[in-house]
């Protein structure tokens, strides 16, 4: 009986029914589209993540059916669970947009805007967020924080200056790898990701910290400065791996596999974590079974200058004469697309 209870929630006026205990963010993700709050620190595959970056703030305009008072402040949607009859405003509330702009500005205060050098550029969540919500200039006049460079192994490159302290990589270390060797040292402004007594990260699944990092703080050393993400071509592939699922995305440039990552969904979260052997060692096409090109959102810079997809204007769909006139185009598109 209790399992069947579903809470009716409305997010930006769109109703959805979710089981109790779901967070507002996950309820919004069930609807999908523009109303999903952005998340920099929450990661559905990592237990306990979320609640740190505050980019997912939403306004609860009606607490529940029984207690319809609105919540006094904006709440972090990744940590707030839904109540029956809750009404949430995300992009319809100017207050939320304003607050999010402030959060992005705070995140960017200490971020060195070295996107031209950073390997994460093009698939960086902070870049997207800054593009959507950020200001063009900064109001911060002081020097940005800097750190001494720390070598955390020959596979993973740590750029502490780019870190936004989302703790995702720490959760990966806690939950995926048998012995945690890195964490956060220091507090507040001085907090930094590091390894204990400069131990190198050496675990079967430690490479996943690269995938979960929303910014370019942890990047692949084997891919370092090899190429820009948007010039490489993502291809889905799998292999028979004894330690992980072996389902990955290969990033090709010409004939060469430049890097291997886990497959990421529309929220930038990996579908399945992959092991270090798959990520760092297997970089020949012969190691993999190719499944086909990876679908990339057409709004992403990675799909810039790739014209294979035909996007007929909406008017063509309704008009039979126009459909007939463009028949050849459609047939060609069908032939090219798998």
């Amino acid at each position: 009986m209790a399992e069947d209870i579903k809470f009716k929630v409305s997010i930006d006026g769109i109703p959805v029914e979710v089981p109790p205990g779901t967070t507002i963010l996950n309820a919004a993700r069930q609807i999908g589209g523009d109303i999903v709050p952005p998340a920099m620190c929450y990661y559905s595959k990592l237990e306990g993540s979320g609640g740190k970056c505050r980019t997912c703030l939403v306004k609860v305009s009606k607490g529940s059916e029984k207690d319809p008072r609105p919540m006094p402040k904006l709440v972090a949607s990744c940590r707030t669970t839904v109540m029956d009859g809750m009404e949430v405003q995300n992009i319809t509330s100017p207050e939320v947009i304003e607050a999010r702009r402030g959060v992005v500005e705070m995140l960017l205060i200490n971020h060195p805007l070295d996107c031209p050098v950073c390997d994460q550029a093009g698939e960086c969540h902070l870049q997207d967020l800054g593009y959507e919500h950020g200001l063009e200039g900064t109001r911060y006049e002081f020097e940005r924080r800097t750190f001494d460079k720390i070598d955390i192994g020959d596979k993973v490159q740590l750029h502490m200056t780019r870190c936004i302290l989302c703790y995702r990589c720490v959760f990966v270390a806690d939950q995926l790898t048998p012995q945690r060797v890195h964490g956060i040292l220091g507090r507040g402004d001085a907090a930094e990701i590091s390894t204990y007594i400069k131990n190198a990260i050496d675990n079967d699944f430690s490479g996943n910290v690269i995938d979960v990092c929303p910014v370019g703080a942890l990047t692949d050393k084997t891919f370092r400065f090899k190429n820009r993400v948007w010039f490489t071509k993502p291809v889905d592939a799998h292999r028979d791996c004894p330690t992980c699922s072996g389902k990955v995305t290969l990033w090709y440039k010409g004939e060469e596999v430049l890097r291997v990552t886990a497959r990421k969904d529309e929220y930038g979260e990996v579908e399945e974590f992959i092991c270090n052997t798959c990520r760092f060692e297997q970089k020949a096409t012969s190691d993999w079974v190719i499944e086909g090109p990876r679908k990339i959102k057409h709004t992403s810079v990675i799909s810039a200058n790739h014209y294979e997809q035909l996007r007929p204007p909406a008017v063509v769909k309704k008009n039979l004469t126009l459909q007939e006139a463009n028949k050849e185009q459609f047939e060609r598109a069908d032939r090219l697309l798998p």
């Binding site: 070295d114 996107c115 031209p116 050098v117 550029a121 370092r224 400065f225 090899k226 190429n227 820009r228 948007w230 010039f231 810079v301 810039a304 200058n305």
Partner: protein, 173 residues
């Protein structure tokens, strides 16, 4: 048929009068125009020796700029190549080694930077896309050549020559 715009003028040819029939006034009029041009300033420029000044917003050959310390500004971010509608630009990046800080401004630099001048349409989008103010189309015309391969300009032709600062008290050798 009636004209739609009402701007049509119908010409009719009248028979020539006496002065027109002897043709001499028309010949002298034509000759006078020709002779007048002997005394006018010649607009032709003898091109390779004499060059016309380029306009300020002329877009010619690209140059990769250096910063005020003479280091290369380009970090091989690839935005010029991404924005290039003709896909004329390609590059290979490399990491700056220790001791090369006086050569390259950032951690990463373009080890190879090539522009295919046959592909380039001189639209200036690379200049606009560059976040580091490293590329400008401020050169002159790209010169003609005989072989296609000679139109692929590498860093040897694109990078601005090192300008030497002479500090006060120092002398150049």
């Amino acid at each position: 048929m009636q004209s739609l715009s009402n701007r049509k003028k119908v010409l009719e040819q009248k028979p020539m009068n006496f002065w027109e029939r002897i043709y001499l006034p028309a010949i002298f009029q034509g000759l006078s125009i020709t002779i007048k041009h002997f005394f006018k300033r010649i607009p032709t420029v003898r091109y390779p020796e004499v060059k016309r000044p380029y306009s300020k917003n002329f877009r010619g050959q690209h140059s990769l700029k250096r910063d005020e310390q003479g280091r290369e500004r380009c970090t091989a971010c690839g935005l010029c190549a991404l924005s290039c509608p003709a896909e004329a630009i390609s590059m290979i990046s490399a990491e700056r080694q220790k001791g090369e800080e006086h050569l390259y401004r950032e951690e990463k630099y373009a080890a190879v930077y090539e522009i295919n001048m046959l592909r380039c349409i001189f639209c200036g989008l690379c200049e606009e896309a560059c976040p580091k103010e490293a590329i400008y189309l401020d050169g002159e015309h790209v010169t003609a050549d005989y072989l296609r391969k000679d139109f692929i300009y590498g860093k040897d032709k694109l990078v601005e020559p090192r300008f030497d600062f002479v500090k006060e008290g120092e002398t150049t050798t």
